[in-house]
Symmetry: D2
């Protein structure tokens, strides 16, 4: 199918643009992308931006101490992939026999806890074939109980300058349309409108408005979403961020406008460039108050060998 | 045994102090402890200290940007209560059919995730009979899938001044002895030695050295531990902290020297005073570098109706 | 509403029947129903029918050796209560390092395994207030990990004469109407039509045809169902069966025609009379071939302290 | 490698014993073992013996109706592989709001339910490299939620002649020694002592006495065990049984006397010959009463795509 389309393009004398359209994006070969810019064997990728300077830069952005909780509550009614669960079973109260009548409660949670709610993607989450970030190979690092390399426990807290890119506001809408692909120009214009420039090490959060559907129309929330595509992802990767997040479920547009490829931004960010993703953010308050630059703080759980972590990040100004 | 001791005390004409020692501590009646000082119906307790001022105070303590991860890795080999689990099942890789060969990984976690690893206790965790913090009643707020009041999702990120009280250093040991009860004098002398005074809203972390056993002698780690007792807990509660944490599993001494009562500090802090607890901290680096005052940042997961959350807090100086 | 209707009935001089209709069924007091006819402290109830004679009676009914599997497959697409799960996670293949290249597979199942699919109800499953079969009390036998009395592990295999009562065939339909309450007369006429009489110790299986919806219209299958009501249940209990089963989810009609009561047949059978229930049977083959009398064999799992067991019973003729 | 070693052995004139020691058993190539004797594409293997005749043969063995429960209770204190769980969480009682005060109980079970307790092995459980029974390939039939072929739901109830081979009694011991390999001669002599001959389609159960350790010394129970080795397994496979079971955890001797191979009998039975295994049986009562021939009945759960099932089989005489 692919080669047929290329053939037709050539016969018809279509130009480079048409050919590019006809061809699907495909991930680079291992040799083209490895070792990563952070060095052979590196497991931290964009997490390497987390350093004392990054913390100091964030601290300097704290002016009023106002905190914005930018994660959703983890609860039964939240949007969730059909293959994932978030089940909480409150155990029966245990009454201890001693005289102070101390009762204890706790809950069993059964969940893909690395990949539910507001969630942070670590590098084992996505592959290109059998190859992951920095060309670690599945068969070398997979076990039944986690990955021996690249696990989310390597990340640690991420603290740095946070920047909100409000594409919805740029477009003058509350919420971008279903399946809208955010372009490079959108990002650049939104930043210009906000009088901000990205810096290496930023936590870049994109406001699409999509989370207005959270808990209200979960079916629509999960079916598609507006978000960045291949071009915007490649541009963002060049800005060298600490992570890229959005208020939708995959950061990127879904489904991809090219039906032949599946969530390519996941590969571009996680596998190819070693840049973490942060999904299902709750950005309405930041956008509503036009808080575009802030201290970003996030603490992924140290799940040994984990593919990610549900998180509860904050923005502070 | 109890009545016998009281009888002897009376016969010998012992004063009130002796009688108090002979008698077990017992929790106050509901009428004596409710409403809490934070007001009837309050669900946040010591979490009310989390305000813009608390954040600004913390930010001012950030001088070098050095971050200390004070949580343990969540893994199979960690100490854990016999009635709890931390099981990670890495699901089989799904290879998506599209041309970009995107493979997806995720893990199912089965765990009392609110009560494993470095863990933060919310108020539904502990009762006095059928009564909880601010006299919410078990039968009114319990469900199969969480608590309708007091759940950890109400807490949000906690940012404030953190103070390490190094009792092990005061005593000139790496690790306090098994079942050692930390006294009020210990806390006061340790603070004096560190030239620090507690302030309302502090995140107070107590270094016992016990976490040296973590992952090395889990059986001993869980069997007993040094920690604060009733007297030190009541003194700490009067200092009005944001939370009290330690590098052992229950913050408090275990078992309690009085065999008739079970973990009374849990009731004193959570149920009576509405003060959060933070357990299984990793404080060796802070203590080793004598970092006694710092910015404390912690993000509990927003588990709706949850009794607590495993956490990954940091200290920043 | 209830007392008003009784008042009206008395004023109008209505007879006993009318009053009975106006009043909801209510369970007898403990003193009226305990000890059970099987003796104080008995935990087996109708399972006491399982004896050598019962097995011999069943064996004599085996004429051709033809086996009918009367359970459904346990799978993701089956009807299930909204509060229950049946999740299978096939673990990653482990390849053992030895020279014979032996790979091992196994699956983690997360499920209310006692109460999913074709399922057998043991006595801890249902209460009248805080009282269970033979007046065992909830607070005396409940633990976090099972019941100390009445657990399904006490039951063992049940082998006996099985009788199918085909009410759908009596009515000349494939499937009884939604919410149809099977009457005593229905049962008696169906037996007469089949030239059969019930005997003490029988496994009585009622064919409603409802399982035609299984896996095809799960929402309708679970929303309501035809089945026996209070009167038919009380009549069946007097026949002294080993168990009562049906090809619907609760054996009984749902919802009960009297909106003031919830699944009363569960209390009549399990709590009051100590008769086991067997739900979600697949009886189409038996009914289609008019197999009305057969050897019935069922092996509940020995889940210590369990409320029931998913099962895979058979009928043999 | 194998042929080379044989060549060397012949040249050097080494005896049969030496050659056998030098060479490890290795599984046959796919071409040598497929299609299975039950035909290409067959998924039932020895389960094909389950037919009306098998049932009639079993029924004829029922003389007194006495039932022997030959499975263990599923409970927390049972021996279990370190990588498996059997966790029961009794959910909080739900009290329904209607007037009949009906309370409901149920439990969440988290377990490798196909591979715990007295357990029946289906064919997806074991591989030779990437190849399973009848040369189905892992990559063709595996999914995250079960196997698309060979799943235990295909088996159905197994009813047939059961034969107990009491090797412990032959040896005049209660329990065979740790790591004792049962030989072909042992099986033959034990049968001769019992005046019995195996027939095609038999459920063959081997009594080693090992289950005396069950729940009493679980560590020893799981560490090693007496059982059949390669030679006895190959002899048994030629007898064409419906299944082979034992009162130990892997049916076979463990570890295998040849340290270069891992549980070869699993491959011989499941993958090569398509014969089911039945583990962790409780055979003390049968052996104690010298019940050597009986009706065997077992009902595996119909876990779609499952690798096996915990079971509660019975023997009837």
């Amino acid at each position: 199918m692919k080669s047929l389309m290329i053939g037709v393009a050539l016969v018809l004398g279509c130009g480079a643009v048409s050919v590019a359209r006809a061809q699907s994006w495909s991930p680079p070969a291992d040799g083209q992308r490895c070792p990563s810019k952070w060095g052979a064997g590196d497991q931290r990728g964009s997490g390497n931006h987390m350093k004392a300077e990054s913390v100091l830069k964030a601290a300097r952005l704290i002016k009023t101490g106002e905190v914005f909780e930018i994660s959703h509550v983890l609860e039964a009614g939240m949007p969730i992939s059909a293959t994932r669960r978030f089940d909480v079973h409150t155990k029966r109260t245990v009454m201890n026999p001693q005289s102070n009548r101390r009762g204890s409660n706790e809950e069993l949670v059964v969940s893909e806890i690395g990949q539910v709610g507001t969630q942070f993607d670590a590098f084992p989450h996505q592959t290109i074939g059998d190859s992951l970030y920095n060309c670690f190979k599945l068969e070398e690092i997979q076990t039944r109980t986690g990955f021996t390399k690249l696990g989310v426990e390597n990340v640690g807290s991420l603290v740095g300058r946070g920047v909100l890119i409000d594409v919805a506001a740029l477009k003058g809408v509350d919420m971008l349309p279903d399946t809208y692909e955010i372009t490079v120009a959108d990002l650049q214009q939104a930043l210009q409108r906000q009088s901000l420039a990205l810096q290496p090490g930023d936590a870049v959060l994109i406001h699409t408005g999509w989370s207005k559907l959270w808990g209200k129309d979960n079916a629509r929330y999960m079916k598609t979403c507006p978000g960045i595509g291949v071009a915007a992802a490649e541009w963002l990767a060049k800005q060298d961020p600490m992570l890229v997040g959005a208020d939708n479920w995959p950061v990127e547009v879904a489904p991809n406008p090219d039906p032949q490829i599946s969530l390519p931004v996941h590969q571009i960010m996680l596998a190819i460039n070693g840049i973490h993703l942060l999904e299902n953010l709750k950005l309405g308050d930041l956008a509503g108050k036009r808080v575009y630059e802030f201290a970003f703080v996030m603490q992924p759980l140290k799940l040994k060998g984990g593919t990610g972590s549900t998180v509860a990040p904050i923005a502070i100004r």
